[in-house]
Symmetry: C2
Subunit: 354 residues, 2 copies
Amino acid sequence: MKKHNFSAGPCILPQSVFKEASEAILDFNNSGLSILEISHRSKDFVSVMEEAQQLSLELLGLENKGYKALFLQGGASTQFLMTAYNLLEKKAAYLNTGTWSTKAIKEAKLFGEIEEVASSKDKNFNYIPKGYSIPTNADYFHCTSNNTIFGTQIKEFPNSPIPLVCDMSSDIFSRNLDFSQFDLIYAGAQKNMGPAGTTLVIVKESILGKVTRQIPSMLDYQIHIGKESMFNTPSVYAVYVSMLTLRWLKDLGGINEIEKINNKKASAIYQEVDRNPLFKGYAEKADRSIMNATFTLTEPKLEELFNDLWKAAGINGLNGHRSVGGYRASMYNALPLESVEILVQVMKELETQA
Amino acid sequence: MKKHNFSAGPCILPQSVFKEASEAILDFNNSGLSILEISHRSKDFVSVMEEAQQLSLELLGLENKGYKALFLQGGASTQFLMTAYNLLEKKAAYLNTGTWSTKAIKEAKLFGEIEEVASSKDKNFNYIPKGYSIPTNADYFHCTSNNTIFGTQIKEFPNSPIPLVCDMSSDIFSRNLDFSQFDLIYAGAQKNMGPAGTTLVIVKESILGKVTRQIPSMLDYQIHIGKESMFNTPSVYAVYVSMLTLRWLKDLGGINEIEKINNKKASAIYQEVDRNPLFKGYAEKADRSIMNATFTLTEPKLEELFNDLWKAAGINGLNGHRSVGGYRASMYNALPLESVEILVQVMKELETQA
């Protein structure tokens, strides 16, 4: 039976990418060698790395604007400390919109003073704070664009008087923004970009080199830029599959096209959540994420029946995070509209059977 | 034509591993899902991570001896700073046997005083220093077991009065040692263990928790131990392929069996280097690596002919590192004896044609 994979990440990637990625394990570029056994300094892999970097900047509209794209290891969790290591001299400002912002703040506190400009913790992060002000005397402002666990998403970014740093792990390449308003964007690959094991960092070079502390080489953005993301052996296969996924997105028509599809998927699910009396949305409507829809049952006794129904329909990964409970439908770029339609049918079916 | 892959790393892995690793991209464990799209918290992947950790300890004979196995990101280059971050309070002792030791020393210097107990830099690292003494007042002693670039290898490890830390990136799982003499072993996967993108760390828990500095979460061994190597999303696919490779090694008979094969391969190549007047070994005989044989041509004018001959034989990755020049035959665990025999034939053929 066909699977409908709503996993929150690592998550579904395009089927055409899986096919090509599987073939490259046996024979990469007709070399007679697996992509897993070639040198990262080989011409074939250097070209993969360059294309991945170039496609990232191109899709975000950031070519020739002073930005560099890096594919590093360690996930967004490593970026929590690298951003502070590289940018935080005295004080930084953070917006707290959930679990990942909270973790980013915790790591940054080891490097300087942190001013939390606003937080939605008072309502278990079911909304995005607005109307806060960003201090001009901080080194940078950090925010999380999309909160996978709570299903909220920043729709309008503040006009920041200081460098704007954004963790876009769970919604990069999913919607069009003026990406040039950001000075540093980071994203673990394992949502819209590729498999786990690599992290994209897009950084404006002009914001670097301003802190006085000594930075270990592997944590220093300038070192990685100087070596074009090959200071040490990169996560070869994860970069390769990310490149294939970025190619797929470009062929599809880029962010403008995928945003239309993502909006259709999100509308379909939220419309049913709002219509069906058996479901209740978790996030405030204005802040609902187009990537992760969070909702609960209004009648808890229906849980077993609903779980049976969606599992029987081939749906995977619908359980909510323990911080919220209920359900979470993650609808990353590669999830087809058809899968969301199946989920909506199952929700209607619950109403019929209940 | 069949390829003979002597690449220095990332390098050849067993053909049976490539086959299984390719299939898992399309359908993992008959789940109908790719291994690239499943949650790292899923039962199927948690079981992969546990098996990889268990096999690592089992193959090294370190089960139930107070060690933990971690699969982290960032390569050995990240371990250069993590070892110092976690273990270096005032002073550490380092043995300098080449490029990687030198880099490890550079990063550790950011965290305390480094005493270089001995170095073979005077002869461009073509030997392993001996007879040095290790200070008892240092926090740990660090060495590199095998030097890929120079083709040297430590045959006997010192009886260290302080915790013994070893970078075994390029010879772990290749020869039998009393691994319990080490307190911390680290190794980038991309030689004998798997593809690039994950790093094995074997650490004796009792040496941790002794430094006074605050350690960022992602750099803290105790945090990773507490979360069983799943503090954040691991490099899922690289851990999976490493697990397959460790299974292959266990099925083959473990380190004792592979060591016999590795010794045969090394003997074959060094015998020819010593016999054939057209070649000269780079490393001192007593310190020759069984993983990487480095050698040069005695008559530089034969370079083009030799290159033509080995390329025509399907040999790949034989060029030496620029620090040494000449040639380097890397013979990691998965390289068949047959490939070394082909190379030896080509060396003999050069003598005939020259």
